[in-house]
Symmetry: C2
Subunit: 126 residues, 2 copies
């Protein structure tokens, strides 16, 4: 059945409690937009590489990540559009770095998890 239905809640109290403080769909969409950007292996490792090296150009990123330049260029385009990466043009090379307002807690958590997941064959808490 589609959302427009009439149902009797099993636990009305909890439903009311959840509804009263439930976040808006727009807010959720905005946050999921950010999470979607990090939810990609290429972009996540790219962010890691930029975090470690301060700045890199497209070609060097492709070498560092063992990927095609197309892939890196596309990833950078999305991250740049979202304001998570800024570009500095010097001659014919474009140096990319993480934006200053890159969400710190998300970055720290993800990069540390990456290290943990890399150097532990099997783990538990993700």
């Amino acid at each position: 059945m589609t959302a427009t239905e009439l149902r009797r809640p099993i636990d009305p109290e909890r439903v009311a409690h959840a509804r009263s403080r439930l976040p808006s769909a727009e807010g959720a969409t905005r946050l999921t937009g950010l999470l979607s950007l990090m939810a990609d292996p290429v972009r996540l490792r790219l962010i890691y590489a930029l975090d470690v090296t301060e700045e890199l150009c497209v070609g060097d990123l492709a070498l560092a990540l063992d990927t095609s330049e197309d892939s890196v260029s596309y990833a950078l385009r999305l991250l740049r559009t979202a304001g998570l990466v800024v570009a500095r043009k010097a001659g014919r090379v474009v140096y990319n770095r993480l934006a200053d307002d890159f969400p710190a807690p998300l970055r720290n958590y993800c990069l540390r998890q990456l290290i943990a997941l890399t150097y532990q064959a099997e783990d538990s808490g993700v």
Copy 2:
């Protein structure tokens, strides 16, 4: 050009530095799997609702989120498969709650961001 190319790095030092400590593609894929699960408005608000109410059944979740039961059922299936949500069956209703080992930092960050994004029309730091 595809990944199999021969290029000369512009900043060999930084490339080597990034390559030496770059996380594995498998680790990145595993982490992005988790991030992908949270990168959906329905699932994110569902997690929020469960965080607030301790536990809810499918029908009540649909009421709380103003969504179809199908949508909630599908979201729960993915979260359960990933071990992020556990189900408790009582009679003919199935109560769902967040798993104990749900990644705490990720949960805290996302839920607080959700509140901030909901009660601020326009904001800055996402």
